[in-house]
């Protein structure tokens, strides 16, 4: 192969004509190797981010090319993490580009043995219906002691520690307006 391209590029010839007589240095270097550059260099943009795993909150740089994350690295500017990442933070690229990540809605009918596909819009409508129905069915103005409670115990939520503050805020706000109080997250466990 390398013979084919150009005789002058033939390493043996470079060995004979250059400094690298023993063929262990520049003469043996391939054109590909000579031109190697880090892929981050070719990124279309670099986006500031924060590690999604633990509460150290290490700074991350997210490299994007062709609308795909191609690398995630520690941000040296962060005074907390100083550019470093633990194995989880270092695996963040695999997290977001995970081969096993499910990216479509899946739906399991009651008593069914397997998943089926469902359109996102339909799923959201169905969930809104479930919320409204369950809420109406389980609404309590007073509890069993006759105390004012104005709530539903008919549905609950769990999770929040992986979410953004803005997301938790909307969840708490909506649930509270719905009168749903059973809302919990990892703080408790």
């Amino acid at each position: 192969m390398s013979l084919g391209k150009s005789f002058l590029g033939w390493p043996v010839l470079r060995q004979l004509t250059g400094e690298d007589r023993t063929g262990r240095g520049p003469a043996a270097q391939s054109a590909r190797s000579a031109g190697l550059l880090p892929r981050t260099k070719t990124a279309d943009r670099v986006v500031d981010s924060v590690c999604p795993y633990c509460a150290v909150g290490c700074g991350q740089k997210v490299y994007v090319k062709d609308e795909r994350v191609i690398q995630i690295e520690g941000d040296p500017a962060s005074p907390v993490s100083r550019g470093r990442l633990c194995p989880k933070g270092s695996a963040s690229e695999q997290l977001v580009n995970s081969p096993g990540r499910v990216t479509t809605v899946r739906y399991r009918r009651p008593f069914a043995t397997d998943w089926e596909d469902l359109d996102l819009e339909t799923a959201t409508d169905m969930i809104a219906d479930r919320v409204v129905e369950t809420r109406a069915r389980t609404w309590q103005d007073l509890d069993h002691k006759g105390q004012k409670v104005r709530r539903t115990l008919g549905f609950a939520s769990l999770g929040g520690a992986t979410l953004d503050n803005e997301e938790n805020y909307l969840i708490k706000k909506l649930f509270t307006a719905l009168g749903a109080v059973q809302i919990e997250n990892q703080a408790r466990i």
Binding site: V50, E167, Y169
Partner: protein, 892 residues
């Protein structure tokens, strides 16, 4: 973290990671920092490089121990004895920082005559009601105060809703009126906090520590010496803990133990000192600040309780005392601003700021109670929003059985986690307890957007908000919670827009219009602005001091107010650390008011001068408080200032009251209110323990939350008959290579290959005793389940001599779960646990319990159920077993 709240006033870490480099001694206890916060751990290594002593106190020798100066192995669940031992040592040897203690703590405050200590009541404090297993804390209050010391609201735990109150001190100490408290500056009065403390811990001797914890007295004393030698004017010690401390039925009191030590040694509010609570997930701090929790509103404002908070006025009086000192005194402004943010023009003074739109809680609506309610078919629907209870929550079987009772389940996650697939591949399917065809749960799996696919803030462990920018669009159907919930809200509102039902008013009146960003999605910055708050004219607030109780300001979370100061998203600031001093105030934004060390007024002496040049931080320059941080104190309040008679709120803070959220401005050695299980930490055994409490007749925490149900069989403990069926202590924990329930690690080949299988860690002696072989298999059995794990025989686990007998400990990382979608799967350690919760915070006890272990793999199918049943019957377990809370034997 009410342990911190009821000691200092706020529930967050009191310091920041980088500050660890200035510690002279770092005690890591109840945390495996090198493995769980590896990048933060660089600051421990930095301190070590500068000569600091690093001590790791942990049942296991971990990767933290490996680089610590010393590792102290102790029995899981025995820390209060250890900490109490240190307190006793400090007091007996007069090692406390006297000036600090006098000036900044409540040591000199006198307690009431009615107060009785555990010493007198064999493990109980005064006020215990055996029929409800709850305390009336009136007798714990200071002498000179009326009632329970709170005007208006009831004392902590003084009603049957007390269980829900524990966590309400995330930012603001418990309500209390300090003005008439009696004090004894000589600290000699027998009812002074100082003398009570001394008596309470007098029996926590080195010998007792050895007997309870299994730590040789000599090793214990080395810790005492290291800690005291590295505290005082010139030196500071930092205590680091995490969930090794919180996941106990008496977890909050562990933290109180450290708080007392740090106050006595004068380490609070000072550089290199403090208590670093290492929190868990990327935004776990944020999710308590803006809580997706049942008992809190944003900013640690309590959720209204049925009966208790019938009216707006009752609520207000219940959460703060009008006479109280400090910034919590302004709570009214914070609540009004919140209600204005949510209901806008519909929240008026006349309708009590729409207070009635808030639902009321009554008792525990926590996740474990909810799971039981699912089993009872009381709950129809469930949203899982980035949590995997089938694996991550205690008593995995209960979680899965509960979900199998639901009508509908929405799982939003990055990966197809076990909680979404339990109906087809959960362990109960294999054992035959459940059949897929019989499970009526309708399941929606909605793929979530990853952190790179949305913008927003995480609040990390040092209370710092950091903005992450969206890098790419989410793939396929993936969606952020922000987008999903905005849409869901719109859809629900549309469905109820024309209803005439009163219950729908809060929805119809809800402020739910957010601008869209360039990608056509709800703009996260707009939400953050709402959280920050605005004046009526739309200007953004610069901080909560601008909040008003008259409805002229709106703000979603008062403690976060200031994150948009000057109209700038302060959380997105990224001025490189190298271009700033080590406090790095211009990176991100920390609540409150971008302070990095809390209570930092205490870094100066009462006169406002640094305690020492070496430990200088904030000081009074004659006009202002100056230093590298933002002072956690009124900026221009002189040290000599004395509040006038009758002053309340911030105005009532004297110039030497550094604990600005506390009703009395002081750090609490003794917590007269705020905790439901006692004003001082006392050692109790874990709910399930093979050891008899050597200190008190009361075996376990008398207020712990129990669930007396057939789904929750508990084991006999101590010397109860049958306890020897489960002779070993086990604990559960994390590995560097995995993340929690595995949703973010077991799906990734790069992390999975590093720890591919579930394993247990046992000592060589234990392995010999049970015939376990390294690399082989073992079956671990409790009253709930039998699970199998590969065996690692390691000297990192040591058998401990406790009260004359050898106690073997089994270590179990809890990251694996049974399913078919992950790269690596395995039995789940959480299936072993029953439910016993800390009464303050409803945290389950997953750090210490009792089990048996046998060589070989577990049986499959029905044989598995038989095995567990056989163990239960051998131990004589009934629904009553282990549910008895008051066990004190010597009638006082």
């Amino acid at each position: 973290m009410p342990g911190l709240g009821a000691s200092f006033g706020r529930g967050g870490a009191t310091t920041f990671l980088q500050d660890l480099q200035h510690s002279d001694c770092i005690v890591i206890q109840g945390s495996n920092m090198a493995e769980c916060h590896p990048v933060g751990f660089q600051w421990v290594m930095e301190a070590k490089k500068r000569g600091a002593k690093v001590i790791h106190i942990d049942p296991r020798f971990t990767r933290t121990s490996a680089v610590a100066d010393s590792h102290v192995p102790l029995r899981a669940g025995s820390d209060i004895a250890f900490l109490g031992g240190i307190i006793n040592y400090v007091l007996q040897h007069e090692k406390y920082f006297k000036e600090y203690v006098l000036a900044y703590t409540n040591a000199s405050f006198l307690l009431r005559e009615e107060f009785q200590d555990t010493e007198e009541l064999d493990g109980l404090f005064s006020g215990y009601d055996a029929s409800t297993a709850k305390y009336d804390s009136t007798s714990w209050s200071y002498a000179g105060l009326e009632g329970d010391g709170r005007e208006g609201g009831k004392g902590a735990g003084g009603d049957d809703l007390g269980h829900a109150e524990g966590e309400s001190h995330g930012s603001g100490g418990p309500a209390l009126n300090p003005n008439e408290v009696q004090k004894d500056w000589t600290l000699q009065h027998p009812r002074s906090v100082f003398q009570v403390l001394k008596r309470h811990y007098a029996r926590y001797t080195p010998e007792m520590v050895e007997q309870v914890c299994g730590v040789p007295a000599s090793q214990f004393l080395e810790v005492c010496e290291a800690v005291t030698a590295n505290s005082g004017r010139e030196r500071t010690t930092c205590w680091v803990y995490s969930v090794g401390w919180t996941q106990h039925s008496v977890g909050v009191q562990y933290i109180r133990g450290a708080a007392i030590i740090q106050l006595l040694l004068g380490n609070m509010g000072r550089p290199g000192g403090g208590i670093l609570a290492l929190r868990g997930h990327a935004s776990i701090q944020g999710s308590t600040d803006i809580p997706t929790l049942f008992n809190l509103l944003p900013g640690y404002l309590p959720m209204p309780q049925a009966a208790e908070h019938e009216t707006w006025e009752a609520y207000l009086d219940g959460i703060r005392s009008p006479q109280q000192k400090g910034f919590w005194g302004n709570a009214e402004s914070y609540v009004v601003s919140l209600l204005k943010a949510w209901w806008g023009e519909h929240a008026t003074k006349e309708n009590g700021w729409a207070f009635d739109y808030l639902p009321r809680i009554s008792g525990d609506h926590g996740t474990y109670q909810t799971a039981l309610d699912m089993v009872d078919d009381k709950v129809e629907g469930y949203f899982l929003l980035g949590q995997n209870p089938a694996v991550g929550s205690a008593h995995g079987k209960l979680q899965r059985l509960g979900m199998a009772h639901l009508k509908w389940l929405v799982v939003r996650d990055l990966n197809m986690i076990e909680s979404a697939t339990f109906w087809k591949d959960g362990p109960e399917i294999e054992s035959g307890e459940l059949r897929t065809e019989d499970i009526g749960t309708e399941v929606f799996f909605l793929p979530a957007a990853a952190h790179t696919e949305k913008s927003g803030t995480f609040t990390q462990t040092q209370r710092m908000l950091q903005w992450h920018h969206k890098a790419v669009d989410p793939p396929g159907d993936c969606q952020s919670e922000l987008a999903f919930f905005y849409l869901l809200g719109q859809k629900v509102r549309a469905r109820l827009a024309d209803s005439g039902e009163a219950r729908d008013l809060p929805l119809q009146h809800l402020t739910w219009d957010y601008p869209l960003d360039a990608d056509g999605e709800i703009d996260a910055e707009a939400v953050l602005q709402e959280i920050n708050g605005r004046h009526a004219d739309g200007r953004l607030l610069s901080g909560y001091l601008e909040m008003k109780p008259d409805g002229s300001t709106a703000g979603g979370c008062w403690i976060y107010s200031g994150v948009y100061a000057d109209g700038v998203n302060q959380s997105a600031r990224r001025k490189p650390g190298s271009e700033q001093d080590w406090v790095a105030k211009e990176w991100g934004w920390a609540w409150p008011y971008n302070r990095r060390i809390l209570y930092n007024r205490a870094s100066a002496d009462p006169d406002g001068k640094p305690w020492s040049a070496r430990k200088a931080y904030m000081q009074w320059d004659g006009e202002h408080w100056v230093g590298p941080d933002n002072v956690d104190f009124p900026k221009d309040r002189a040290p000599s200032y004395r509040a006038p008679e009758g002053a309340t709120g911030p105005d009532a803070l004297n110039g030497d009251d550094p604990f600005v959220m506390m009703a009395d401005g002081k750090g609490w050695l003794f917590s007269p209110s705020g905790l439901v299980d006692g004003p001082l930490p006392a050692h109790y055994e874990p709910a399930e323990s093979p050891v008899v409490n050597p200190l008190y007749g009361q075996q376990a925490n008398p207020t712990r939350e129990v669930f007396k149900r057939k789904e929750n069989p508990m084991q006999p403990s101590g010397d109860e008959p049958g306890a020897d069926v489960f002779p070993y202590v086990f604990t559960t924990y994390r590995l560097t290579e995995h993340h929690t329930a595995g949703g973010m690690s077991r799906w990734l080949p790069y992390l999975s290959e590093l720890q591919p299988e579930f394993f247990c860690e046992v000592s060589p002696a234990h392995a010999r005793e049970r015939g376990l072989e390294n690399h082989g298999w073992a079956t671990i059995i409790t009253a709930r389940a039998a699970i199998e794990a590969r065996v690692l025989v390691t000297e990192r686990v040591v058998p401990l001599r406790v009260g004359g007998k050898v106690v073997h400990q089994v270590g179990l990382p809890y990251h694996w779960g049974v399913g078919t979608d992950a790269v690596v799967t395995g039995d789940s350690a959480n299936d072993l646990f029953g439910l016993a919760l800390d009464a303050n915070v409803h945290i389950q006890e997953t750090k210490a319990a009792a089990c048996d272990i046998q060589p070989g793999r577990r049986p499959r199918g029905e044989a598995l159920l038989r095995m567990v049943e056989e163990y239960r019957s051998r131990a004589g377990i009934t629904v009553e077993t282990g549910q008895q809370r008051m066990t004190q034997r010597n009638e006082p």
